[in-house]
Symmetry: C2
Subunit: 415 residues, 2 copies
């Protein structure tokens, strides 16, 4: 058998609580399968173009470091939001990337990311085929939004869902305590621009000792503000403390985001996505003015994607598994593919790693089926709940040092 060369791994797009568990899976499996060096590109392809990378053996010194990495939120290597141009538009960028790969003696290139990152894998593997390069390109799915096609769900989603459900329970408990002889409405805003998977996860807060949120509004259903007001008034007839979950991405019939109605932020990121904040604040103010009771808005904000202390064991383990599976696939000669999670059974929950051609996956967005939202468009169905419920099970206890969760952090200069 020929001596193995080197492998490089990068992270891209928005962070998750378990994106580093996939990195740990890549590292451990690459070492076990005899790759010589395991490089990490800093800030994804964008940093790699500037030859920003580290030898991961200078960062990970022991099995406890691997365990710490699994418990560390956000991209350990740094991330980027960088979309490669089409090959014909800018072949020089591709030439440069492959020159750097040749220089580093790279045999396999693993990219952990979402839709945009799978587009990177597709383009690089296409370019390699066109030009006769032998490097293998494999994608590892990652996104809290769960909007990637062909995989049963994405690593990062289960932990975000667990944090959201646990925090929703705590918010409901808190809101209930202070409402004697008066009414209050709490509006919780959840991430998910187009896909309502995370907003729907608030339904998991409905347990034997908690009623869960009273209404849930997903971006897949057109938001009708008059119907919303009417429904909230109905809820207040039945209970004093009403808690409503909304996606940051809900839109009214003319296509405008609800958060745009208040003249919110105009910030647009590198992928052209508008920054959405303020949906809950807008709706809480609206309800307060219309109904005249106390209202409060709560945004879980970046905590929902970075709360490793509340990560799901299923999620951490699956993130680790797909990282390792990508290395295995590359080592066995696959390229231009993404590892996916196949669900084998619901109860007991079982899954394993599958693999798909990235041309079938890239740039397709998986939304919540309309049939998994009730007729009125204000709650998710049992099918929805049964689908996500197994994904929040089990825990990885954080490594607590002086009372706080410890993380593994890259040694590098900041500026």
């Amino acid at each position: 058998m020929a001596k193995k060369r080197n492998i490089i791994v990068g992270q891209s797009g928005g962070p998750t609580a378990v994106i580093n568990s996939s990195l740990a899976g890549v590292y451990k499996t690459a070492k076990e399968r005899g790759f010589h060096k395991v490089y990490g590109m800093l800030h994804g392809v964008q940093g790699f173009l500037d030859e920003q990378y580290v030898d991961l053996s200078t960062q990970i010194h022991s099995d406890i470091d691997i365990e710490l990495l699994k418990r560390t939120p956000s991209a350990f290597l740094g991330s980027c939001r960088y979309k490669l141009p089409e090959i014909h538009e800018n072949p020089e960028i591709y030439q440069k990337l492959f020159e750097i790969m040749e220089k580093l003696n790279i045999e396999a290139f693993i990219y952990i990311g979402g839709n945009d990152s799978m587009d990177t894998i597709k383009k690089l593997s296409d370019y390699a085929i066109i030009k006769g390069h032998t490097q293998k390109f494999l994608g590892v799915p990652k996104t809290i939004d769960n909007d990637l096609a062909l995989t049963d769900h994405t690593p990062g989603f289960g932990s975000a869902a667990k944090y959201i459900a646990a925090s929703t329970k705590e918010v409901i408990r808190d809101a209930l305590g202070l409402n004697y002889k008066k009414e209050s409405i709490t509006v919780i805003e959840i991430m998910g621009r187009n896909a309502g998977w995370l907003t729907g996860a608030t339904a998991l807060a409905r347990t034997e000792e908690c009623e869960g949120p009273d209404a849930i509004y997903l971006p897949e259903v057109v938001f009708d503000i008059e119907k919303f007001l009417k429904n909230t008034r109905e809820l207040l007839k039945k209970k004093n403390s009403v808690v409503i979950a909304v996606s940051e991405g809900i839109k009214i019939a003319d296509g405008r985001y609800v958060c745009e109605l208040s003249g919110g932020s105009d910030y647009v990121d590198a992928f052209g996505h508008k920054q959405l904040q303020g949906t809950a604040a807008y709706l809480a103010n609206f309800l307060g003015a219309e109904i005249g009771c106390k209202t409060r808005s709560i945004e879980f904000s970046t905590l929902q994607r970075s709360a490793s202390h509340m990560a799901s064991r299923v999620d951490v383990d699956e993130a680790f598994m797909v990282g390792g599976a990508a290395v295995k696939a590359a080592d066995e000669g696959d390229s231009g593919k993404m590892v996916v999670i196949d669900r084998l059974s619901d109860d007991p929950y079982q899954s394993n790693a599958g693999i798909y051609d990235v041309h079938r996956i890239a740039n397709h967005e998986k939304l919540v089926p309309r049939s998994w939202v009730n007729k009125d468009g204000d709650y998710v169905t049992d099918e929805f709940i049964n689908y996500i419920e197994p994904l929040i099970h089990g825990d990885y206890q954080p490594f607590m040092v002086n009372g706080l969760p410890q993380h593994l952090v890259l040694k590098r200069k900041q500026k």
Copy 2:
């Protein structure tokens, strides 16, 4: 020894993650000391005036229920924000309260709460002395704000501080991941209208692997927005990702809250309602406009007082201890007093329960001493950190059921 009569306990004011641990301490100690029945007033004195109460033995059936109660956030019995009138203003209310107590054969009245609640204890014990009633009135401190005088710190503060510090670490990690070749500013807003104890707790995020927040602004120091802008620009020269913690209660020199400054025409919504945004949102928008980089605001909101899943063991245990100590004091004949926490040593941290006359405590607000904030007014000192650091140590693992923390919940109708 005469046969013991009954005892009643209530909860008042804003909830905390450990207010129910004090309730558990009251219940357990009352049972152990031979009180006949332990009643819980629903929604504090306000509900008690409507004869809303439960026999706690119908709610707590086992030791595991007591452990669950210690892990349940927000007021189990319901809370209220109700200030008793002065005795001479409305003696009828006092008559009514004592009639209900006589009817229920109450020997001791325990009230878990903050400044306003200690005022209730003071007035009731004064009234009892004036009128020759024999009931004992004892206060148990509770507030995340840590603004009660004479106690070293308040139960509820340590857990809020721990949640804030842990979440700040996660927010810093998250913000760092995505800032290659660009700058970003995150402004975190923390509760505490007048007292900056919780905002200062973000400094605990400065650990061996985390730089902590880059600046901290407490309400005890006048907020100078030009100096704030200048300081933030300086920070951006040194690093790409700047994270700033501010109290919701910071005020500019003319006495206005920073969050009031956003009342301008920019924030009038489609319905013509003036939108009063938060402090962090205002400052993030301000910095974004002045500096031109990406900014984000994050409010920890009610999660900081309800995240029992991240409670401090020191805090849960001390909350339990002061609940029990209040019962013991009442049983031994004390009245008109509040139990306090005395710190015996810093390292190893040790504390015990002391007791103070509630006339010395009620309605005094304990602020962060100016000497515990640095000269520039943008960070806390080592003395501050050494004071709060022991209070976040240790954990109570939540009881996880189907992937989520379980709570003990009162069986009652909602409306």
